[in-house]
Symmetry: C2
């Protein structure tokens, strides 16, 4: 039996442990969501790289394999207007790599496809009725948001600052994810693009707890039971965990990414906009070292990825590929996602008990 | 009676609560150290802006007023070789401000004085016998360090990465401060100058705990009882607290700095090298906004401060002055330093007890 001191997320989502699997587009799918759900956490399916039809098939596969609630996750960015001059500048910045690999910069490239939440995705929500819908980069338009709420879904989104948390609370979110600067993947920021001012998890969580009257979910650096206990100590009602799942067999990351995770260091990641045009934390690689992790030349999200696609195809591996990971990557273990979830819950509770002098639960 | 689950720092330093006051050169002196000591924490005297004679007078004043142990703190940077070309470039970057204030850039300026630990300071340690000596920016030479240890002092220093923590442990430190990216003031980093890779407190503490067989002191974002409890949850043996003391009457910061702290936001600080040449976290101000918080033109520590001195004299206030603060500044209360310390201890213990379901201590 779980013995959590804060049951708000357990009751809100209908889960056994206040542990949310971070939806990681491209790195997680049905198998990971099912494993987390079976362990009593909240499984999530990221839809940013899927068509509505693909997403529907994944929801159905999840429902067949897991009885728990589902978190369906969407990006809600505004796709940028095409800008040929900016695109040319980005290609110029990458031209040494095209030359090195003998690639023709004039050859047609695939467009970067990260679809924002729209009418078709909203219809999918209305049809498949996920218990939770989560958004990244803010919230969709009021009309779409009202339809999501009318479907019965709990709505959550991520805040990287107190200001963003208040904005989300004012628009009716049921809980807010406090995404500290340690977190892997795309920064959720939507009211700021100043990466020099983003608070770390330790500072962000209590300040968001003080600012909004909602359950707060701590994200960023939570990778073992110590992190779970610390998140609750800071006032969070639970945690969202991503990187700690990336070494599981259920993770979809390629082998070179797994190898980088196995060798991860505390100081081995940086926030970079090179891979998609939007700041995201990943393991430092050749491209980040040579261009610098943040470049004014990278075109707006998600278009920057298009110019990198030929480089990644010509040289698969770490040099030109994003390897999203948070600063706690070295804490991740090579273990199944169900076991990772159970260990987070068990070790978190045991740590809390030990700190107060109570005997450890068995 | 204190009821701390981890007594390593209590025993190592002879204190009642595992709470270290951060030595804050220019912002803290005898009164703050005495107040923290009376509350059962470890009071500290920063010597970086003092002569050995001034430091000795402060130690004597502390000893008269407080019975507890004392932490005497020193910088151990290597002063840079003068570089006239770099100095001219930095003056050129600042020339619009000299023009705005009608200042003569050719007028003589005071040299920036932040003295590193040296023979004279070491003799002071040998004479005054502080119970703890702490260093910032690494450790002094092996010869000086041996003399400090021979004086009977416990030696501690700060690490901003696991690599720095291991380096400090290998050289015989008795405890290591894990300084997360949230922390105010100068980054302690000494094996890296890559600010894009500095881990946040939440990620750094458990990784340093795993890497060194020493008590770890969490710093960065610890500003109330929640932070104390979270630090222990992450595996730290205690905390070091700076910003939470800056609004106390014992703090030496000027009124404009106090006002900025009273209005502080979670996203209102950045790491900047403009004020001294070395990265340090402070409340964002005009200079940081206009030049950008990090500038390649700022001359090496501590010389960059020299060119700013006339601007600060001509316009006292926030525009051209550093206002060191961590990302938890908004959590700081306007309260006496003794009360701040007692509240950190009481609320931290209460939080740990509450999370495990035990009744709160009275």
């Amino acid at each position: 039996m779980s013995d959590w001191p804060d049951r708000r997320l357990i009751d809100l989502f209908g889960i056994r442990h206040p542990i949310l699997q971070a939806p990681m587009a491209g790195a997680s799918g049905v198998a990971l969501a099912v494993a987390v759900s079976r362990a009593g956490g909240l499984g999530a399916l990221p839809c940013a790289l899927l068509s509505p039809e693909e997403a529907q098939a994944q929801v159905e596969a999840f429902r067949q394999a897991a009885g728990g609630p589902l978190n369906l996750n969407f990006f809600c960015h505004t796709p940028p207007t095409p800008d040929l001059a900016a695109e040319a500048a980005w290609m110029a910045a990458l031209s040494p790599y095209y030359a090195e690999l003998g690639l023709d910069p004039e050859a047609p490239r695939p467009a970067a496809t990260r679809a924002p939440f729209d009418d078709a995705f909203c219809a999918l929500v209305e049809t498949t009725r996920p218990e939770v819908v989560s958004f990244h980069f803010g919230l969709p338009t009021a009309g779409l948001l009202a339809r999501v709420r009318a479907s019965g879904a709990r709505v959550i989104s991520s805040a990287t600052t107190v200001e963003e948390a208040v904005w989300l609370a004012e628009r009716g979110c049921d809980a807010v994810i406090a995404m500290g600067f340690e977190a892997g993947g795309h920064r959720a920021s939507f009211l700021t693009d100043d990466m020099s001012a983003q608070p770390g998890t330790f500072a962000l969580v209590p300040q968001i707890v003080d600012a909004v009257d909602l359950p707060v979910i701590a994200a960023g650096g939570v990778a073992d039971g110590r992190g779970v206990a610390a998140a609750l100590a800071l006032g969070a009602a639970g945690v969202q965990v991503g990187t700690a799942y990336l070494r599981s067999p259920e993770s979809l990351v390629p082998d070179f990414h797994r190898q980088a995770l196995a060798a991860a260091r505390d100081d081995g990641t940086a926030v970079t906009n090179l891979f998609t045009g939007r700041p995201a934390r990943g393991i430092s690689n050749r491209l980040m070292a040579e261009i610098g992790p943040m470049s004014a030349a990278a075109t707006p999200f998600p278009t920057a990825a298009g110019a990198l696609a030929p480089l990644r195809s010509a040289r698969p591996g770490p040099d030109f590929s994003n390897m999203w990971a948070g600063q706690g990557a070295a804490l991740a273990r090579e273990s199944g996602a169900e076991d990772v979830t159970l260990a987070l819950a068990r070790d978190g509770l045991a740590r809390l008990a030990r700190l107060s002098g109570r005997p450890r639960p068995a």
